[in-house]
């Protein structure tokens, strides 16, 4: 099912870019996305250390999650915004792909810089296998490749080539997404019930961070001249926290970080929060900001 969603969203994005062509908007959105990916974890890191009382290693790992993106949140946002007449630009799929990895790098650097001596020593051990290896492992992550592949196919095929397979992707899409959200919701709920790692400050941050990051993202999106739909999507991407690519990367590069913390926060709290409250919030922000700054 996730393959279906990824392929569909990638194709759709590619087809749209094919029909609108490249633009300066696309370039500035790409740059904004990458910049947000690199910088958002910094704020998160210090909030996690001070408010959340986490160590440097855990803070770095969690910060990396919040700097990266959630594909399912993105897809849901695209659907909801389109239904409200705020259709985002097709190239935002590409922006999402670009935002997946930078936060991992920032998170790791922060963790290593601030980790106490003893922690750092352990860290050194597995640095041996890291560096370019890690980057390679993250970039060749199946879902990123699938998404970009579908995007590329969509761009090459264009509107005409998409026609014959449109029914599958157009008709079933909402339903599959719906089933998927149900499934994710169950997983999120189970994870939340089983964990004992989430303190009240951490739970608050799991709500606060998406609000802050999302507002920054929406603001940046509006300021660089994106239409409200795309600005809201940039907000959603900033607000969303990864629960696929980044956890895997953290198991490799920061194995001392506790998965019980970062998965519970990103999947158990932030994911449902964004789906229910985050998306409408950033949509409203984007609509509010557009006439002022746009």
């Amino acid at each position: 099912m996730s393959i279906y969603l990824m392929a569909a969203i990638g194709l759709k994005g590619g087809v749209e870019v094919a029909s609108t062509g490249f633009s300066t908007e696309l370039a500035s959105a790409a740059i904004a996305g990458i910049t947000l990916g690199f910088t958002l974890p910094i704020l998160a890191f210090f909030m996690l250390r001070s408010i959340g009382k986490l160590g440097a290693i855990d803070s770095g790992a969690v910060a990396a999650h919040y700097g990266s993106v959630s594909v399912v949140t993105f897809v849901t946002a695209i659907e909801l915004l389109s239904n409200q007449g705020m259709q985002p630009d097709g190239f935002m799929v590409g922006v999402m792909a670009l935002m997946e990895t930078p936060a991992i790098i920032t998170g790791l650097l922060l963790a290593r810089a601030y980790a106490k001596k003893t922690e750092a020593e352990k860290g050194t051990v597995d640095q041996s296998g890291n560096g370019s290896n890690l980057l390679h492992e993250v970039l060749t992550n199946g879902s990123v490749i699938l998404l970009l592949g579908a995007f590329a196919i969509g761009m090459v095929a264009g509107e005409a080539g998409f026609e014959p397979i449109k029914p599958l992707f157009a008709i079933g899409f909402n339903g599959v997404l719906c089933l998927f959200l149900l499934d994710m919701g169950l997983i999120a709920a189970r994870r939340l019930l089983q964990t004992k790692k989430i303190t009240i400050p951490l739970a608050s941050l799991a709500v606060l961070l998406p609000i802050i990051n999302g507002s920054i993202g929406t603001l940046v999106g509006t300021m660089i001249g994106l239409d409200p739909g795309s600005a809201a999507i940039l907000g959603v991407l900033s607000a969303s926290a990864s629960y696929i690519a980044v956890p895997a990367a953290m198991r490799l590069a920061l194995p001392q970080a506790d998965p019980g913390i970062y998965l519970s926060m990103s999947l158990g709290i932030t994911f449902p929060f964004n789906i229910i409250f985050g998306i409408p919030l950033f949509a409203a922000q984007a609509n509010f900001l557009a006439p002022i700054l746009g």
């Binding site: 996730s2 041996s128 296998g129 998927f180 964990t195 198991r251 490799l252 998965p259 998965l263």
Partner: protein
């Protein structure tokens, strides 16, 4: 009766994202092969854990290898640093391998 040789059966319980790194180690000590089995669920100090197809982030696997004693202990030495940092679990048992001269 058919001829057997004694070998070591090494079992490594590991987070799935780490598998490629272990395989690199296996090749370095020149062990002839390995097999990976998926774990469906489990539990430990971190509480219960279930494999789910959606995130896959917490997936765990078992890597199974047959090797002779020399290579097995060489491998154990090499993997030791990862043990603590990545929370691996390695067990080594004795088995008879039928016509197992190639290991």
């Amino acid at each position: 009766m058919v001829a057997t040789v004694q070998r070591k059966r090494i079992e490594i319980l590991v987070d799935t994202p780490l598998v490629p790194r272990i395989i690199r180690l296996i090749k370095e000590v020149d062990i002839s092969g390995w097999s990976v089995i998926k774990i469906a669920s489990g539990g430990g100090r971190d509480g219960r854990w279930d494999h789910d197809e959606v995130t896959g982030a917490a997936a765990k696997s078992i890597i199974l290898m047959i090797a002779n004693e020399v290579k097995a202990s060489l491998f154990a030495d090499r993997i030791a640093p990862l043990l603590e940092s990545h929370g691996l679990l390695i067990t080594i048992g004795n088995v008879e391998v039928v016509r197992g001269d190639r290991f």
